[in-house]
């Protein structure tokens, strides 16, 4: 359940940004989470809602944008789509690929007033 740590990090980041820039409320937060990232989205939403209480983000809604898994296949020398970390390259069936996207855990932006 490391999603609680992730939730705490998100709240710390956005509330300190809001404070520094003089905003009183955070209304909405957009995350970019890779499809292959080591995170359970339901647990992350639960954690976010628990941790946001009594902060300027108490009313903030969470929007999660899922980014696709992409890999560079060394044998094909091409970018391919990967849906699981143990997937073969969809072109050649090999496993000699390097992940280039889909592992993101990023706070993209927030809506404040």
């Amino acid at each position: 359940m490391h999603e609680f740590s992730l939730g705490e990090s998100i709240i710390e980041t956005i509330t300190s940004q809001a404070r520094q820039q003089g905003f009183h409320h955070i209304r909405r937060v957009w995350l970019e989470i890779g499809a292959l990232a080591n995170v359970e989205l339901e647990a992350l939403r639960f954690a976010f809602e628990a941790v946001r209480e009594n902060t300027v983000a108490a009313q903030a809604e969470l929007e999660i944008i899922t980014l696709p898994g992409r890999a560079w296949c060394l044998d094909c020398a091409q970018s391919v789509e990967i849906n699981q970390l143990f997937d073969p390259c969809p072109r050649c069936g090999g496993y000699q690929w390097r992940l280039t996207g889909g592992n993101e855990l990023r706070i993209k932006e927030m809506e404040v007033d």
């Binding site: 609680f4 809602e49 699981q84 970390l85 855990l105 993209k108 809506e111």
Partner: protein, 294 residues
Amino acid sequence: MCANCGCGETEAVIHSHDPDHDQGHRHEHPADHHHDGLPHSHTHDEKRRVSLEQDILAKNAGFAASNRHLFLELGVFVLNLVSSPGSGKTSLLIRTAQLLRDEFPVAVISGDQQTANDAERIKAAGVPALQINTGKGCHLDAHGIGHALERLPLPKGGVLFIENVGNLVCPADFDLGEAAKVVILSVTEGEDKPLKYPNMFAAAKLMLLNKTDLLPHVDFDVAQCLDNARRVNHQLDILQLSARSGEGLEAWLDWVRQGRHAALAAQIDQLETELAAARAHLIHGGGTIRRSVI
């Protein structure tokens, strides 16, 4: 307050929030506000969009970078050992530390939710060790390790083993500043563990298949297990050993020795860079002092 990082803690403790105080509800988005989660511009004048583009784990990454810098300065090779509970991490660590401690300094940080049993076992074997209890926390983080280093003298020019909480999920995401994650799998577990917990095997540099002395007694397909691990991470180094019988230990010790050698080489490079910079200051920065002035 901690002077290093400004936290309110004096000890390495990972906070855990009690979810019971949460209302447990999920907000449903109003129909007129549903944009498939994609960024969109608002017409409300009072609301503003602030771009952040920041990694969720940025704070941990900052602490990990500080730890890594300290390890580099002191020439310490640091390994983060991860596994499910019961894979034999502590027994392997004790055996490893006993075999290496006459060659160079060795120390251990052990992470568990409760008890100091592991650190006590390691200390009883004559190896400096410190226990971190994470309470309800499911992983060690770089901030906790930074505080642990205030209480455990680093083995300069040697090896620090960090025994993470037994958990094949959560520790995968948290960089502690280590040179490498070592994932330990024992033959009493399933050979499909690399597929079930792919993030951990993808994050590791070395996999140790432990308890090979038990292979005659269990249904464990070694070839299938190694194949599964390489499907997830084709660059993964894999060694097979038994901490109990000692079989295969020498290859693992050599792997550690090579890593320690690389850490010392990196320390020397760093020192030479600093030395060259200091010399450059002396030459170009008015370092020549006339005798008459003195």
